[in-house]
């Protein structure tokens, strides 16, 4: 399965020109509002006809501006989960869920109603009307409805944006199960929330001003200093994979990454599990000597890969700790005073409290 998008579209004085590939797993399309994310996903879904370009899915042409090919939405077999759920108000949850089943080819692979009910915890809602569901429940039904149309790929346009934090936490595990579960459905996920992207995505496409600014595997793009301004200086930071070693009695858990061990609070996963850590660049300090007498417990020997001077007073430093990449944000003055340069070895101090429980998952 591979989605290939190469389109150009103009509305008013906004021009969109986007090229990217999405393979398996979750491909996140990240950008601020107005970056053109929704237009891209709508073009993939067939709800927007771009001025020119090509969109193909596993070799099948969905859109080709040169040959005037435009496969209508109904024939694309892409499950779309909208930000605003868009459940049919006159149908029960059950009838919403099964709405698209009859249009899928009988031989198409896909989950059964039973599978979806247990995956999304919808069994008790079946006979309810959409008007009597909470926001999180609506989104779960919308997701189930898309899955039951047996799509070749899922398209999700900010499915969590209209939900408050607890409702988000309610949905995220379902999305993770979808990613890691037996369905193995590729997902194109539009979002402007870095935490969601860091937690869910395998591949990241950064969109800004209607153009692709960076794309690649999540771990690489998140650790790329050039991506800092696109993600926002407060949100930027590397995502690394860690193995849970043990939980200590004082509430801290030992996690192992390739460059050493970290002690972190609030880790829920069992020992042996692999989790994702998001280490914010602003929570990483650098020291040229191994520090002594600090309250921070996480100190990793690292090697500086690049120093990226931005326009402001800050600089983003790409670091390597074993096989993993980290990102630190320091001041330009510190770069000068410590004479930070590529190839130099130093120590990264990571505040133990800087990893929120919500950003750990797998």
């Amino acid at each position: 399965m591979s989605l290939s998008v190469d389109i150009a579209h103009t509305f008013g004085d906004f021009s969109l020109q986007v090229t990217f590939q999405a393979e398996g797993g979750i491909t996140a399309l990240f950008g601020r509002s107005g970056a053109g994310k929704t237009s891209v996903i709508n073009a993939v879904a067939g709800l927007l006809r771009p001025d020119q370009g090509r969109i193909t899915l596993s070799g099948e042409t969905l859109f080709d501006g040169d040959t005037q090919t435009f496969l209508p939405s109904a024939k694309r077999r892409l499950g779309y989960v909208f930000q605003d759920a868009r459940l049919f108000p006159h149908l029960s949850v059950r009838d919403n869920l099964t709405f698209g089943s009859r249009y899928a080819p009988p031989t198409a692979p896909g989950p059964s109603l039973e599978d979806v009910l247990s995956l999304l915890g919808l069994r008790d809602l079946l006979d309810r009307a959409p008007g009597r569901l909470s926001g999180g429940e609506k989104q779960r039904v919308a997701l189930g409805r898309a899955l039951l149309s047996k799509p070749r790929m899922l398209l999700m346009d900010e499915p969590l944006a209209s939900l408050d934090a607890p409702r988000k936490q309610e949905i995220l595990p379902y999305l993770e199960r979808l990613r890691d579960g037996p369905l193995g459905l590729p997902i194109l996920y539009v979002s402007h929330a870095v935490d969601e992207v860091a937690r869910l995505a395998d591949t990241l496409v950064l969109l800004g001003n209607g153009r692709v600014q960076a794309q690649g595997p999540l771990y690489e793009v998140m650790a790329d200093p050039a991506a800092v301004p696109l993600l926002g200086v407060r949100e930027a930071g590397a995502v690394i994979e860690a193995e849970v070693i043990q939980h200590a009695a004082d509430g801290l858990s030992r996690l192992r990454i390739s460059g050493g061990d970290l002690l972190l609070p609030g880790v829920q996963a069992d020992p042996g599990a692999r989790v994702r850590l998001r280490v914010l660049a602003q929570d990483v300090m650098l020291s040229v000597k191994r520090p002594d007498g600090l309250s921070a417990v996480n100190i990793l020997p690292v090697k500086i890969e690049t120093v990226h001077q931005g326009e402001g007073p800050g600089a983003a430093i790409a670091l390597r700790a074993g096989q993993d990449r980290l990102l630190a944000r320091v001041t330009r003055r510190a770069v000068a005073e410590l004479q930070l340069a590529p190839g130099m070895g130093c120590f990264a101090i990571i505040k133990a409290t800087s990893v929120a429980p919500g950003s750990i998952g797998r």
Binding site: S73, A74, L78, H90, S149
Partner: protein, 229 residues
């Protein structure tokens, strides 16, 4: 006071004409309303104007134009006549007049209802694989039921009360083309006919009240079902 058989005949004919006209006009009006609400095509403005014409023309003029088009000596009327369908001075002509006069009201109500349906729901249905007709049948149609009902009731009432175009097109032949309004008018022309007129006025009121009550009850049921609550 006894009510003339002619009055009962007029009531029966009016109900028959109004029901028939409503049944024919509803699907047609729905189609036109959908075209006007959801499609762009050349001649859309003209179609819209044409549909609304009977609303602004004097009914007598509409009746006269029908006579010109469908009279026995008009080409169209002759052609239909040879197929066994006589319209002028025949109850079926009253049905045609009722359809044309009630059409703008029906189209209006249904068009507003269709425009009130969020196109995003129709988009969602399409992404689930539903072809165009299924989107209409499974999403749009159920959601506009109140509008269809309102249009049908208004059209029915208009058909029951239609007078000018009907009397011009099909005249006022008791037992054949004399509808309730025509019969009331005729009774008022005869000295001492007020009694019959009042009886028929009461009939008209009863039908109107009955239709409104029925539509209210239906509307409540439909609204409960589609409100999503």
């Amino acid at each position: 006071m006894s009510i003339d058989a002619a009055a009962w005949d007029a009531l029966r004919l009016s109900l028959w004409v109004a029901c028939f006209a409503t049944l024919i006009a509803v699907p047609l009006a729905l189609w036109i309303a959908w075209l006007l609400a959801r499609r762009d095509f050349p001649g859309k403005a003209t179609l819209n104007a044409l549909v609304h014409l009977p609303l602004v023309l004097p009914p007598v003029v509409t009746g006269y134009l029908l006579l010109v088009a469908f009279g026995r000596n008009a080409p169209l009327g002759r052609a239909l006549d040879s197929l066994g369908l006589t319209l002028a001075f025949h109850w079926s002509g009253a049905v045609l007049a009722a359809i044309i006069m009630s059409f703008p009201l029906m189209v209006r109500a249904m068009r507003l209802a269709i425009e009130a349906v969020d196109p995003k729901l129709e988009e969602a249905a399409a992404t689930l694989g539903a072809p165009g007709w299924a989107v209409f049948g499974r999403v749009t149609l159920p959601l506009i039921q109140p509008g269809i009902l309102a249009g049908a009731v208004m059209g029915f009432a208009k058909a029951m009360g239609e007078f000018g175009a009907t009397i011009t097109f099909v005249a006022n032949i008791p037992g054949q083309t004399q509808t309730l309004p025509s019969a009331i008018w005729a009774a008022l022309q005869i000295p001492g006919g007020e009694g019959q007129a009042i009886a028929m006025v009461l009939m008209a009121c009863a039908v109107a009240v009955g239709a409104v009550a029925l539509s209210e009850a239906l509307a409540r049921r439909v609204a409960r079902r589609i409100s999503g609550a």
